[in-house]
Every structure is written in structure tokens, then in C-alpha cells.
Symmetry: C2
Subunit: 404 residues, 2 copies
């Protein structure tokens, strides 16, 4: 476990980030399995897109002024040709990254270092012709909610005029790129309260809107309800120049209803910017976002940060362990999942990375037509049940064995 | 592909049932991976239960009069000890099996062969002290709905007094065992219509009730809506002598709302008796039932039949392929998934099997307390949305980029 004082070095976390000595689960399987077994394992674990594994595209080497310490992976999801609609391909980019300066550095230095880093990553995504870029949850700061210390609130910014938003607006305009920017929001018009918010920046550099995280965890070190409450922006879908997108922030991925709502409102791509650690959630990571893509007939881009963040003061986790300073390892493993149950391999567990994927959006309707999940959904049945289940006097439908 | 005329022999399907030359995905990984890599891959793919892989129990060899051609696997899921509640352990059994007589045999012969087979399997489960046994979907017949031929309706039975139910009632009483028996139901009091129904038989041999499949597929060869419509029994949870159970039949596993409803009504174990083939759904198989267990805080027992069923007359699949006689390979792979994201390995892809699992039901509430999904579910928000989305004049929440 990386406990170097305050230093979020990636190298120092490699020991616990990779028991497998591979960058990811998929990489490990590909290396270790026999040539006969790998394709069959890949078929079951990663699914097939148009009858084959999701196609990996070659990555053209960067110009020298682009970041060389970024793991770049590139894939393409295909759809069947249609006779009455043209292909609708959009290139998305998912960013996973570690914090740059240690958490002990002055806040201005931490903030500046992260902005500089994201500037070069977003520039790189622009050069790679990404149409829609999504950054990780609360990317402008360390994920300090474990500490319950109020001073980290300083990292909050208003949606309009905040330093991170202004920087990304310029980059969006320069690269003709939609950017989804999840930040800690300072709501100045409502008593300066905080929200966990994704800002949606259009490809003309304008702010299209925002979405506030709907479901807030109270799990282990995820003491986020200390800082902000459940979002009040519903389940907006943003009609951008490159398709209809939505954002399911972090813990919302555990809520099938949250995923469903974005689908009902017409999303074709849902981003899931997250911050989650290995001991807690890794076996769930490949299951939930993927299930949502299948059930709702849209693409999901799942993002998790990387690295171990070590804080200045020790904190407890409500699990009887002694007070400690680190949050555990954010295991990266970002991936894209499609409505046909295919997915990309996972990004590395311990490297900054940019996952680029070309999505043919026609696949969404094709799979809905094929599987018929929406047609057979019986929403009115569930509207009625949820209304009843919300009431204090709810009586569950239980049939008791009369022989008991 | 096994196309031997009418013969559902397991041996004949092995060629396509196992490219991996292992019985299951998990078996293949365990055999092929290095001793260093396997535990880490297992941790991510199968999860951990109380900090370790789901415990495998030794299977005591059967007496000679028990079926020797049944793959038996046995596991135990643990929960943390509590101070105010005793441990609540229940032993469940999942049955996956091929049909016995060829589909060309006289119906009485096919039926008798299946009843005889299930009699010996249920007896074996009783000897193994199973408390709740669940059989596969429409276990009393071949999965003939691909044919659209009406003559297969002969296999339908009323809930009360049907041959399969009477046989299982006697076995339930003999072994003090709850049995979930999914059949094609003939509803004699409503114009002799058909339903896809699970009969719940109590451990005293009484019929506790029934559940009719809520969501009916129109996918490829799954022409089930030709035979029966969406169920009208809601989402009942059955309070049995051994815990609160529910049944999500086959295609209902693709509907997160269906899973949710059984959870809201208080299920601790949800069985998912299925019939599904490899080319269609295998990459989804490990995702959906598992996601449901995690999201709803209950155990799921997912069951799929095995073997390739070849029918007397050729039929088309609505995909441009020539008419053919087989449905593809039912790939077995039954498994149990727990609320803590752990699961058993998959059962074989091509062998009859009985998967036995000891479940500590206390785990359900422990995980709900830990993760808080129910507390943070905001049901009233979704009740309102689903009511709106059900109406013809629904207006999705779409925020359009004003720069477009």
C-alpha cells in the first residue's frame, strides 16, 4: 500500500495496483491464456460487436508537444448498415488520471497542476479528433471527502465563470469538441451550497447545462453526504452537436432506476465519471455500467480515477481499522460498453489514460429493435408499484405459505 | 453444431459446447492461468465473500441408487456474525438439464422421460438436504416455442392437479423441501389460455401459489408471444418455511424493473429459471442476474438448460438464414450470485447438473446497511417519472444546445 507522505506517485502504488503484473484484467488474460482459449474467453467476457471482438484501432504516434506519459487506447464499435439512415459515428474520449501535486501542497498549487495536466490531455484529445470528451468525477481536486474536513470546500467552483470551466470552454471551442466536466460546484445563488455536478460544455465553447449527482453515498470513506446532498436537476439528456448524452455520476451507477431514467429521456451515450477503490467495488465495476448499456440500449463510458491519494491528517473509516491517511487505490479500469453487450478492454489500473472510442449510434436503435426491451417494459405497472412503495403505509405483495 | 436427427444427445453437442475444452469459463481460467494470476482474476471476476472466494464444499459421494451422471457442485456464502440475530442459513439447489427423449418421440414418452429424470434429480437434492429447489424454465417439455407449431401446447398443465405438480408435491413432502417448478400452464378457468408459470410448492407438499412470467420475448427463435402473453400475477414474494423467495422467469432478467419489484416486495432469494442459447445471450449471462443481486440486496439463482434441441420440422429465425431444425446450444452455466457481488463459478456448459449453495440470508440486510442503496433510492422521483413516461404525451427532459 502506498503511504509515502502526501505523495500520490503512481510508481509507489504499482505494488498494490497490479498483483497480476499486468495493466488490467483483460491484459492479464490475453497474455496468460493459450491461443485456443483466449478467443472464447474474450467472447464471453467482452462480448461481440457485429460478430467480432470490439475492433482495436492503431494509435498514430503523437507530435512531440503532446503528453507522452498518457496511455492511449482506441476502439471502434460498429452497427449494421441501414437502408434509410446514414451511419452516425461519434468519437468519444474518456480521461482517467491521478492527481498531480501532493495533497499537502498549497491548494493553489494543487489546482494549477491539475488544470495544466487537463489542458494537455484535452488538447491531445482534440488532436485525436475526439468529438465528446468526458473527465473523471471531481477532477479539479483530490477526492478528499473521506476526511470530513471542511477546508477542501475551497476547491468548489461556480458553473459559470469557474477557472476550470473557463479553461475547458476555450479548449472546446478550439477543438470543436463537447466536454463533460465533473466538478465540485459552488451554488452561489442558493446560499453558496455545494453540489457534485457535471458541466456540459458545447463544441462552440458555450455552457449547455449541468447535471447534479442524483444519488449520494454513505459508504466507508465515501463521506460525500457530509459535503453535498442529492441533486435537484432530474435526469437531463443533452442534445449536443454529436448526439444525445447524459451523465450518471459515480454512486448513481449502483441505481438501475437512475440509468433507466436517462434512457427514458433519450440518451444515446451515458458517461459515468467515478472515483472508486479496489477493495470496495472492483468486482462490481465490470457489471453495473455494462448491465445498464444492455438494459437501456445506449453506450456507457465508465471512468475511474487512478492512484492512491494520501491526505495530510489521518481519518477513520467506520470499520474498526486504526486511523490512516490514504483512501486505498483508485483502480482506473475505464471502459466503454455497448447496447449489444460488447465492451472494450479495461484501461490500466495505474496509469493516466485516454480511452478513445468510435461509436456508431445507429446500434442503439438496432439493438432496441432486436431485443424489444422498451416495448416489453410495462412501465405503467412499475409506475404504480413505485408510487405505492414510496408511501409509508406500503404493503408488499407477500404470499405466505398457509401451512406455516 | 449438433444436428443429429431429433436426438438431443449431450455428447453430440460437445463440439460447439466447449471451444475451450473446459466445462465452463471459470474452469478454463482456473486451469490455464498461472498460480499468481488466478487469485487476482478470481477476485475481480467472481468477487469475494467475507474476504475470500465463495467457499467450495466437498460433495459426499452419492449412494448407488442416486443419479451418477449429474454434475454436483456445492458452495457456501457466509455473512458476518451478528449480536442480535442468529445465523439464517438456507440450502438452495438449482437444476440444469437436457431433455431426455428426442423431440420426435411421442409426447407421452417425452413427458414421462422428463418426469422420471426430474424425480431422480429432486430425490438427489432431498438426500443432499436441499431446502429450496428450483428447476429450469418449462422443464416439462422441449423449448419448442421456436417452431410456432400449436401442437406443443399439449404439454401445458394446470397448476392444480397437473402430473408434474403432483409428482413434485410428493417429493416436497418426502424431503421437507420447497420446490419451484416452472411449467407451461393451462389456465382452465380462463378459457384454457396458456401462461409461462412458476408453481411454488411448500415443504409440506402444499401449493403456496404461482407466478406468471412478466416479460415475454420476441427475439430470434424466442417466439413465446405466439403462445402466451405477459403475466398478470404482479411480483409476488413467497414466504416459505426457509425464507422469502421470488421467481424472475427468463427474459424478465433483462428488465431491471422486474428485479427491483421483487426486491421492493421483500425477496431474499430470487430464482431466474431460463432457457437461452449461446450465440444470443452468453456475454450478458454473467452480468444481469449478478447486477440484480448487487442492486437489490438479495441472492439470485440463475439457471439455464443444457444441450441442443433438434425439432422434427424446420423453422426460420427471422434472420435470413435458411430454415433449420435446431435452436442452438443451451449453454447451462447456472450460478448463484450474492448481494456482496460474489458469485459461484458457472456450472458446466453441457452437462446436467445440480448446483447446491448454502446462503446465510443475514448477508442481505448487512449489505443493504453497508451500501445504503435502498435508503438512497429516491423511489418517489422515479414513480413520478415512470408515470409520465407511460403517457402518450410524455415529454422527455432534453436540454438542447442553444448553439445548434
Amino acid at each position: 500500500m502506498a503511504l509515502e507522505n502526501g505523495k500520490p506517485s503512481l510508481a509507489s502504488t504499482a505494488a498494490d495496483a497490479s498483483v497480476m503484473q499486468s495493466q488490467s484484467l483483460d491484459e492479464c488474460l490475453k497474455v496468460e491464456l493459450s491461443p485456443a482459449a483466449w478467443p472464447e474467453v474474450q467472447r464471453v467476457l467482452q462480448g461481440l460487436n457485429q460478430g467480432a471482438p470490439v475492433e482495436e484501432l492503431a494509435h498514430t504516434p503523437w507530435p512531440n508537444n503532446m503528453p507522452q506519459d498518457l496511455n492511449i487506447q482506441k476502439y471502434a464499435f460498429r452497427a449494421a448498415p441501414e437502408q434509410l439512415r446514414p451511419r452516425r459515428s461519434v468519437r468519444i474520449g474518456l480521461v482517467q488520471n491521478a492527481i498531480v501535486a501532493p495533497t499537502t501542497a498549497p491548494f493553489a498549487e494543487q489546482s494549477k497542476a491539475l488544470l495544466r495536466r487537463m489542458h494537455e490531455i484535452a488538447d491531445a484529445a482534440g488532436v485525436a479528433s475526439v468529438n465528446i470528451l468526458c473527465l473523471q468525477e471531481a477532477w479539479t481536486m483530490p477526492f478528499a471527502f473521506c476526511t470530513r474536513e471542511r477546508r477542501w470546500c475551497e476547491f468548489a467552483e461556480p458553473v459559470e465563470g469557474g477557472a476550470s470551466t473557463r479553461m475547458l470552454q476555450a479548449l472546446a471551442l478550439r477543438h470543436n469538441m463537447v466536454i463533460v466536466s465533473p466538478i465540485l460546484e459552488r451554488d452561489e445563488t442558493h446560499g453558496e451550497t455545494l453540489w457534485n455536478t457535471a458541466v456540459i460544455i458545447g463544441n462552440k465553447g458555450n455552457i449547455i447545462g449541468k447535471h447534479r449527482k442524483n444519488h449520494i453515498p454513505r459508504v466507508g470513506d465515501f463521506n460525500e453526504s457530509t459535503y453535498y446532498l442529492e441533486g435537484n436537476t432530474g435526469h437531463p439528456v443533452f442534445q449536443t452537436a454529436f448526439g444525445r448524452i447524459a451523465v450518471n455520476i459515480c454512486y448513481g451507477r449502483h441505481h438501475p432506476l437512475n440509468w433507466l431514467a436517462f434512457g427514458l429521456n433519450g440518451a444515446e451515450i451515458v458517461f459515468n465519471p467515478s472515483a472508486t477503490v479496489g477493495a470496495l467495488s472492483e468486482p462490481m465495476w465490470g457489471v453495473e455500467a455494462r448491465c445498464a448499456a444492455i438494459a437501456n440500449g445506449y453506450y456507457v463510458g465508465a471512468i475511474n480515477r487512478v492512484g492512491t491519494e494520501v491526505f495530510p491528517n489521518a481519518f477513520t473509516s467506520g470499520d474498526g481499522r486504526p486511523a490512516h491517511k490514504d483512501f486505498g487505490h483508485f483502480y482506473g479500469s475505464s471502459y466503454v460498453s455497448a447496447p449489444d453487450a460488447s465492451r472494450t478492454p479495461y484501461m490500466p489500473r495505474d496509469e493516466d489514460g485516454l480511452l478513445i472510442a468510435d461509436l456508431d449510434l445507429n446500434l442503439c436503435r438496432q439493438i432496441r429493435d432486436q431485443w424489444g426491451f422498451r416495448m416489453t417494459a410495462r412501465l405503467e405497472l412499475y409506475a404504480e408499484l413505485l408510487a405505492r412503495a414510496s408511501r409509508p403505509d406500503f404493503e408488499p405483495q407477500i404470499i405466505r405459505d398457509p401451512a406455516l
